[in-house]
């Protein structure tokens, strides 16, 4: 049977083989059956079986609906109410249906049924089994340690940069105590501890704006009054989704993309994501033509597109958007009258020779419509401080800023952390040294890792930024499908004991691509990783 996840060219070929036109779907059932049952018997069975299935499906649905409506359904303890709605997980993508199903669960009038929770709970239960989360859990249970657990699972699935953490630690060891004591004394705890502006202390906004400027090599001067600070980039993305789109609207997101967008953009907002696939033939670069097609298809389906979300440098591929592409993107957004959200959280982690151009640089020019462009940033990647929760929304749209500021009430950065980082980020010399050394280390580790994979016959897309290698392992999968890809992922996790992210988690349309985060590795670790992968790749090649 054809898988929907094949690239489009494949499925249309199969169709051409089977039929000349509209009977394609029916043919896919009848033809194989004809082969099995030999001749006309297959034709008959191929017609009857789908009809029978359809009949039984209607019967089942009718019965099941009666069960849900039945007030006296009391045979489900707490857990079952969740599994019951977990089956609605797929349907939960349409907000209206979720609502109906949750109404179908035991109502308050039933004294014996479990107390029901919202449809959002069921989405969580379904999502928990995705490879992304399964992998993270397994590493937590059995983490690799050079000395104490050399057979543990090596984490290559989480975008942490451990390469330059020592630099930050050094700064803290030298400065933190004075900084904090001074904060407590001068500012006095009553100044730090009391209610502050929820979108961040002005001094911290100034320090962050300055840092962003240094990261873009002073190409842009960021205005602190256009900065809104949030507890991490995760709420920054969600807040923008709430501000720019209504329930049922959609954002165009080029794929492969960051797996977390499914949560950040869609979960609580009721907003949809329309994936715009990029192809290996283009090195997974963004195509305006593809965006246009996706926009038009959405329109036909009655879905209103409110904006595009891009990552630059991109996750997982590591591409940088060229100046020309950024201009074309802006033209496209203007033509369709939609927003652009540019997630530049890896801007300081470029390691190639290409020049990084922030969309903010384009915004600085007069003849561009600034109100539709919004930048997301944060300190989790570039400064290796994900625990401190520092995210940024940067925009010239006053209405967006006003709304976002109010929403930071739910995601404010802790004030002692703000105070500590004000001092760190204001130390321009430290920042400059950090950015430079960090880039060198990323470049070196990236080069070593890519070379290591190359020796195994695994090629990566050339990346200019970020912590990832985007590797083509389609040669090692048994069937060119999501299933084949997940089988390989499982082998890598359980046999090679390496946690990597399969391309399907990033919504990649071509099976067999994997995301490896190299920034968690020391130079010593790289040969260990490649040796382990080799064991699996050898057995795959034999098959």
């Amino acid at each position: 049977m054809t898988q929907t996840r094949y690239s489009r060219s494949r499925s249309s070929d199969t169709e051409k083989e089977n039929t000349g036109g509209g009977g394609g779907a029916a043919m896919r059932v009848i033809v194989p059956l004809q082969g099995v049952v030999q001749g006309r018997g297959g034709l008959v069975l191929g017609s009857i079986i789908p009809c029978a299935l359809f009949y039984f499906l209607q019967f089942y649905l009718k019965r099941h609906r009666n069960d849900l409506d039945d007030q006296n359904n009391s045979n489900s303890p707490g857990l079952n109410s969740t599994t019951g709605s977990a089956s609605s997980g797929k349907l939960a993508e349409l907000p209206a249906l979720t609502r109906n199903l949750s109404r179908g669960l035991p109502s308050p009038r039933s004294p014996r049924g479990p107390v029901s929770v919202s449809g959002r709970v069921s989405r969580i239960v379904k999502g928990a089994d995705s490879p992304y989360y399964v992998g993270l859990r397994r590493v937590k249970e059995d983490p690799y340690d050079e000395l104490s657990n050399p057979n543990g699972i090596i984490q290559l699935g989480l975008a942490e940069n451990k390469l330059s953490l020592d630099l930050v630690k050094h700064w803290l060891a030298e400065n933190a105590e004075q900084v904090i004591l001074r904060n407590w004394k001068e500012l006095s705890i009553s100044r730090i501890a009391t209610y502050q502006p929820f979108d961040g202390l002005m001094e911290f906004k100034v320090a962050v704006a300055g840092f962003m400027s240094q990261v873009t090599a002073k190409a842009v001067s960021f205005d602190p009054s256009q900065v809104v600070l949030t507890a991490g980039s995760t709420p920054a993305i969600e807040i923008l989704s709430f501000c720019l789109a209504d329930v049922g609207n959609a954002f165009l997101v080029p794929t492969p993309c960051y797996p977390g967008y499914d949560r950040d953009v869609k979960w609580r907002t009721g907003v949809e994501i329309i994936h715009v696939p990029c192809r290996s033939a283009d090195d997974f670069n963004l195509s305006i033509a593809a965006l246009d097609r996706a926009f038009n298809q959405a329109k036909k389906r009655g879905l209103k597109v409110r904006g595009i979300i891009i990552s630059n440098p991109s996750n997982p591929v590591g591409n940088l958007l060229s100046r020309d592409t950024l201009y074309s993107l802006l033209d496209f957004a203007r033509e369709k009258n939609i927003h652009i959200v540019s997630n530049e959280i890896l801007a300081g982690s470029t390691h190639g020779n290409e020049e990084f151009v922030s969309i903010a640089e384009i915004m600085d020019l007069d003849d561009v419509d600034r109100k539709r462009v919004h930048l997301v940033y944060g300190l989790s990647k570039d400064l290796s401080l994900p625990g401190f929760r520092v995210g940024v929304i940067y925009s010239h749209n006053e209405e967006v800023l006003a709304a976002a500021k109010k929403l930071t009430r739910f995601s404010t950065i802790s004030s002692p952390t703000q105070c500590l980082l004000i001092s760190m980020l204001s130390d321009a010399k430290f920042v400059q040294t950090f950015i430079t050394i960090n880039r060198e280390r990323l470049q070196r580790t990236y080069a070593l890792f890519v070379a290591g994979l190359k020796k195994l016959g695994i090629k990566c897309i050339k990346s200019s930024g970020g912590f990832y290698c985007w590797a083509d392992m389609s040669g090692l999968i048994r069937s060119y499908s999501e299933k084949g890809e997940l089988e390989l992922w499982d082998k890598l996790l359980n046999i090679a004991k390496v946690n990597v992210t399969p391309g399907s988690c990033c919504h990649c349309i071509e099976p067999g691509w994997f995301r490896f985060c190299f920034a968690t590795l020391t130079e010593k670790d790289i040969p260990i990783v490649t040796d382990r992968i080799q064991k699996v790749s050898e057995t795959c090649k034999l098959n």
Binding site: T98, R109, V115, V117, K162, P235, R389, S411
Partner: protein
């Protein structure tokens, strides 16, 4: 479509972005603006507006300062910053185990050991505001309703409704029985929701109450829990002021009620807590959800990704709250000082001829100015509020912003200022009342 053609260059925002549900245009927040423009200062601006609308606890800062001075290694990971690396990378939504343990212990201490808390049921959020919103997202769908007793904290209009799309249906309470929640009022609210075709998903109570400044009696808590069981809905108990009761024996937590019932029906109960009030650390953004329901705990944990507490802060507070000597002393001293402040303001108001609801907790008192109203309406109340703000130069919160069904009640905060400032405020009130007496005599 037509709108887009008329204004081709203006790209639209969402309904959430332009809605007024954030409530920041209400008098509750408007008074703050007046204060910001002309803030009272003991030395530099003695005629400024005194802020009595902000429920902040500043009476015990010295205890915090002392602790931090004696233990400054907790705020900087110590010499050479040994634990720093793990801490900086720690973004696990489970939260630091040591911090959850410390929070569980702190919550137990506040309840005098009458309830036990399991650290693995604690979910951390950046403040109680986020906790309340998160629970609403989990317990209700857009268009559903939560029942909330009036008068209630004005921020709930934003926290429970804005992004969630959930509605609040009030449980009306009045002064005839000191604003206690009655089974009749609960039933009336439920029926009211049904008549509006709204599905009720839960009740949210604040205990001790804001703005009343009083604890809920255990018989009432039992009634409320029975009601929730009968209707098969959730019960959220916001106990953010539990450490600010003047006498520890007078506070009964819903956790105790559950313990007495052997935790039967517990899976519908969720407790919200925070360090913003009891510990006077609102800037740190520390809130928790404690739920007896496994699905809620799991989902809340994952949802907390949008509102995590800085790992640096978790580490600092884990150390501080694990120090039993510190916490015992703090809880005891804080209670005594709040009690003293409360007595001071009640006596001062009494001398001025103003009665308050009998309170026993919190950072504010619930003042009855209904005899002073021109007309017993919301309009009359707002007129009086305006006079008090602009002539007496005190920012207090009008009952209407708390959805109180009886006009004339005001919430007055007393813990966010020095004793001296409080005296000045009381003098102003006294003078104001004297002037009104003179005016009414002359009429």
């Amino acid at each position: 479509m037509a709108i887009e053609i008329e204004k081709p260059s203006s790209v639209r925002l969402s309904k959430v972005a332009i809605s007024k549900t954030h409530g920041e245009d209400s008098p509750y927040f408007a008074g703050w603006k007046a204060y910001d423009e002309n803030p009272y200062d003991e030395i530099h601006n003695q005629s400024g507006v005194i802020q009595m609308g902000l429920a902040e606890n500043q009476v015990s800062f010295d205890l915090l300062e002392k602790y931090l001075e004696e233990h400054h290694e907790v705020s900087s990971w110590g010499k050479g910053a040994p634990g720093f690396r793990e801490n900086a990378l720690f973004q696990d939504y489970h939260g630091l185990k040591s911090f959850r343990q410390a929070m569980a212990n702190f919550m137990e201490q506040i309840r005098g050991g009458k309830a036990k808390f399991d650290p693995d049921r604690i979910v951390l959020t950046a403040g109680a505001t986020a906790a309340n919103e998160l629970l609403t997202f989990i317990l209700a769908d857009p268009g559903d309703a939560l029942l909330v007793p009036t008068p209630y904290y004005p921020g709930f209009d934003r926290d429970l409704r804005w992004r969630t799309g959930v509605k609040i249906v009030p449980i009306h309470c009045n002064s005839s029985n000191n604003f206690q929640i009655t089974p009749e009022a609960l039933e009336a609210a439920y029926q009211s929701a049904e008549s509006m075709d709204l599905k009720v998903r839960g009740i949210l109570i604040t205990n001790p109450s804001n703005p009343l400044g009083s604890t809920i009696q255990s018989s009432v808590l039992n009634d409320i829990l029975d009601f929730a069981v009968h209707k098969n809905i959730h019960l959220v108990s916001d106990e953010i002021y539990s450490g600010s009761t003047f006498s520890p024996s007078e506070f009964v937590s819903i956790a105790e009620i559950l313990r007495n019932r052997n935790y039967k029906d517990a899976e519908r109960v969720h407790i919200v807590y925070s360090l913003s009030k009891d510990l006077g650390l609102p800037g740190f953004r520390v809130g928790t959800i404690y739920s007896y329901n496994d699905d809620v705990v799991t989902t809340a944990r994952r949802m907390s990704s949008f509102t995590l507490i800085s790992s640096q802060t978790q580490h600092l507070l884990a150390c501080m709250l694990s120090n039993h000597e510190f916490t015992q002393n703090y809880i005891k001293t804080n209670r005594e000082r709040l009690n003293k402040r409360y007595d001071m303001i009640i006596q001062g108001l009494k001398k001025a001829g103003i009665e308050c609801l009998k309170g026993n907790a919190g950072l504010f008192c619930w003042m009855n100015l209904s005899p002073l109203l021109n007309e017993p309406t919301r309009q009359g109340e707002l007129e009086l509020w305006n006079i008090i703000l602009n002539q007496v130069k005190l920012n207090i919160s009008p009952g209407s912003s708390c959805h109180c069904s009886e006009p004339g009640w005001f919430r007055v905060c007393f813990a966010n200022m020095s004793e001296q400032t409080l005296r000045v405020a009381l003098q102003r009130i006294h003078k104001f009342m004297e002037q009104r007496k003179v005016c009414s005599v002359n009429q």
